[in-house]
């Protein structure tokens, strides 16, 4: 699996945990702010999981402008690939 899809999967699983929904209902086009009402406090949990997985620092302030799982994954991928 490539890095982008790996990140998408981590985000999908975390959001499914937080919202108690079937992970299969989530894909890269899922809008976390409007479809799943994920708040910034909940995004902290998602980001913490990504940081632990990749031993990286992700600036949540910069992440605030993205809405979909795909947009977030792309941002994190670019960050990790330097």
């Amino acid at each position: 699996m490539d890095l982008y899809n790996e990140i998408v999967d981590i985000i999908r699983n975390k959001v499914a945990d937080i919202r108690h929904v079937d992970v299969e209902t989530l894909d890269e086009n899922s809008n976390l702010k409007y479809d799943y009402q994920i708040k910034s406090t909940e995004m902290v949990v998602v980001i913490s999981a990504l940081e632990d997985e990749y031993d990286a620092y992700i600036d949540l302030m910069k992440l605030n402008k993205f809405d979909t799982i795909g947009e977030i994954a792309k941002f994190v991928q670019e960050l990790l690939e330097g």
């Binding site: 406090t41 902290v44 031993d55 302030m61 605030n64």
Partner: protein, 339 residues
Amino acid sequence: MDVLESVFARAEGSGIRVCFPEATEEKILLASREVTDKHYAVVSLAGDPAAIKAAAAQYNVDLTGIDIIDTTDEEALEKAAELYAGTTTTMLSKKAVLRRAKADPMYAGLMYQAIGDVDVCFAGLTHTTGEVILGGQMVIGLADGVSVVSSVGIFNIPGYEGSEGQLLAFGDSAVNTNPSDEDLASIAISCCDTIRALLGWEPRCAMLSFSTDGSMEHSMVDKVRSATKIANELRPDLLIDGEFQFDSAVSPRVAAKKVRHDSKVAGRANIVIWPDLNAGNIGVKLVQYLARADAYGPMLQGFRKIVCDCSRGAPVSELVGNVAMSVVRAKELKTLKEE
């Protein structure tokens, strides 16, 4: 005695520990000195000790009686992160909090606050409000029953004769742009708790709208009505009522005419809740400019512990006032926890 005089009197000798993570800033060093000299709090400066001492020397600030939390001490940070990760309310893993604490003294300060080494974290001179809120949410977390961080302020309005004399509290005029009904309920509850802690008032909180007690029907009114219901269900111990127009909230004469249900808040409100940030921002500026009112705050609220954001342009006197208000709130929070 005005609001600040009363707050300063209550802060004096409190023993509350306040951490300043922007410790090389001149205004922070001067405020730390004044807070220490007046015994409002026990001050800790967080950062690189060499840089802090150099800044203190540059600005001619004596650091006697002020602690320094060395955020370059990796062993100490590691130990604190270990303790942090063991707390039940943590949202960040040990690695995630440690990474941030090493990169930014504000996160180190918040981590030490989370594990109980300090009571208040005070930032905002070199961090934006958004960064302070985010840091607080990440490391400290929200108080039980609170769904959003919000703000509360206090007007001192010359010539106003309300239920608390010239004073009137208001929220939220700084953080939530378009709060949902649940968020609005949470804002009202946080405002009541903060104002009771800070000023010792029995809160009477009015949920503001362009409708009073069903005089208008609109989705914007429905939101305020629903928020009032949610707040009452969550905290039946608090006097939160609405929906009211501003005059019905604060004028007994208007309330007697317009409010059809029995209300302990109508006409006597000492806290008003704006329905959104448009109303809040405009409302505060109208009162400040047209009524020549002083507005204290806005103070952040809703965190599990007291996290204070100050304005980047604030003079030292305002910083000291904000520290004292945070100290009084932290003192009350400690008392409540001990009970």
